[in-house]
């Protein structure tokens, strides 16, 4: 069966060029970069070259790059690191209602231990209100954390403006750019952010490696303490092969991004147009906002997302509902809830996230398989028969007592 992968926001295949450069660091150059003898030299050089490539992609200095193990680690380092470094200066954080759990959940946990957190609202297009942000800032505010692009909808936030507001008020600004890096050009100097998180496996590097940009002079407390690695900002023997892979992925991103962007924009347009033409009662979430080019979050009214995904999977099509990282919970997507999407539609949302290997054929397959599949599920749905006048009038509120 043909396999079509449309879940690149969950993870990406490792780029073959990335695999190739990694393998020598598993097979031959397995030394510890901290070692002064022969075994340490190659790995040390490799780590520093990887760092240069990350710095090149972000347009920062090599000393501003800290390697981590994941986007989640980076987000935790940024948030807790800033709070620890600002102990006594204030205990207020501002973030949004649509952050990834690595930020959202961390902030929720911080609330429980006494921090004050403002979760900014978003409108129906997933966008925050900068005035609400401005007026949320108090003398106690030590950190603003707003994601670069939302993982579920692809909506891009006005990071440069937010960074400006943060700077005006002398508040440290962190952006979780896990879904932006590798997909759109991001220049940390131009954006003027203080801290930025990225994760390798979201742009063709392997899982288990990520990085944090930390602007020179911005103070954080390390999350992982111990040895003097990463200039005392992240202890632990470096994941050399992973770092080499991340570096290569950054190099490839710089090289191919423009072309990929056009390609993805076109394919996504084809997907969204095709779905809207072929299937009634659909809505594309965040469609009016600026979005990263690969992501399409589509609400299919009257049907539930998982049952669409299972059916797609049976046809070889991989997509996801909300964030794959949050499966294991059954809560409806907090992102779509925050956008005010009604329950019936929100439960039926599917995220298609495209990647470099997708071709027109892939989209054609989806456009062929999806309409009958949605129709079949709708024919089984008590909400659809109600809505189309072929049944009693029910909705979540009348039925759910839990």
């Amino acid at each position: 069966m043909k396999k079509v992968y449309l879940d690149h926001n969950a993870t990406t295949p490792v780029h073959p060029e990335v695999v190739d450069v990694m393998i020598p660091y598993l097979k031959e150059e397995w030394g510890n970069p901290s070692s002064i003898h022969w075994a340490g030299r190659g790995p040390r050089k490799a780590v520093e070259e990887g760092r240069e490539k990350v710095a090149d992609l972000l347009n920062c200095d090599v000393s501003e790059v800290i390697f981590t193990s994941s986007g989640s680690e980076g987000d935790n380092l940024a948030i807790k690191g800033v709070l620890e470094a600002n102990r006594g200066k204030g205990n207020h954080i501002i973030t949004t209602k649509v952050e990834h759990p690595a930020v959202y959940g961390t902030c929720k946990a911080l609330e429980k231990i006494g921090y004050k957190v403002t979760f900014l609202d978003v409108d129906g297009d997933g966008m925050i209100d900068l005035d609400q942000l401005r007026s949320a800032i108090t003398s106690e505010t030590v950190l603003i954390s707003v994601m670069y692009a939302n993982n579920e909808t692809g909506v891009i936030f006005p990071i440069k403006e937010i960074a400006g507001i943060a700077r005006e008020h002398k508040v440290t600004f962190h952006t979780d750019a896990v879904q932006g890096i590798g997909k759109v050009p991001i220049d940390v100097k131009d954006l003027n952010v203080d801290i930025l998180t990225l994760s390798g496996h979201k742009f063709y590097a392997p899982k288990g490696v990520g990085a944090v940009y930390l602007k020179r002079g911005v103070r954080i407390q390390p999350l992982i303490q111990g040895g003097h690695h990463e200039r005392n900002r992240r202890a632990g023997t470096e994941n050399v092969a992973g770092i080499v892979g991340l570096g290569k992925a950054c190099e490839i991103a710089r090289r191919d991004m423009e072309r990929e962007n056009e390609h993805l924009t076109r394919l996504r347009g084809k997907l969204e147009k095709g779905v809207q033409e072929r299937i009634p009662f659909v809505r594309i979430h965040g469609q009016n906002a600026k979005r990263i080019p690969n992501t399409s979050n589509i609400g299919f009214n009257f049907v539930e997302g998982e049952s669409i995904l299972l059916n797609l999977d049976m046809k070889g099509i991989a997509a996801s509902s909300g964030s794959a990282c949050t499966s294991g919970t059954l809560e409806p997507s907090h992102v779509l809830v925050a956008m005010g999407i009604p329950l019936e539609e929100l439960h039926g949302s599917v995220r298609f996230s495209l990647g470099r290997d997708n071709v027109d054929d892939d989209i054609d397959l989806v456009l062929n398989e999806l309409p009958p599949l949605v129709e079949r599920l709708r024919s089984m749905s008590p909400l659809y028969s109600a809505a189309t006048g072929k049944g009693v009038d029910i909705n979540f509120d009348t039925v759910c007592k839990h």
Binding site: S307, L310, M314, P332, S379, S381, S385, V399
Partner: protein
Amino acid sequence: MYSEKVMDHFSNPRNVGEIENPSGVGMVGNPACGDIMKLTIKVEDDKIADIKFKTFGCGAAIATSSMVTELVMGKSLKEAESITNQAVAEALDGLPPIKMHCSNLAADALQGALEDYYKKSGAGKKAGQS
């Protein structure tokens, strides 16, 4: 994630639809999982002569709905009353733990339909009590 039986019932659900002029209707829902089930039954001679479901929900919700219709079709009301969510899950060779307490509501819908039938038919709460 799901057993083969679940996937079988999910991909080929039995007894989908709504019975016209049903003897009883049961409807349950769980907003957290986003599941809504509607069961309609036709009772004849104290037996489930027909049963159909419509379900908005995940794989587990659809499979349990389908399974419950298969389990009680043609059975006596008494037998139908004894069906629990647990029994439905077992008949499907189990469900993922997280789905057990959430999308496994089909037996509740069945009991709802039975109660609705008793109420409408004035047959008392339990079949045996009539």
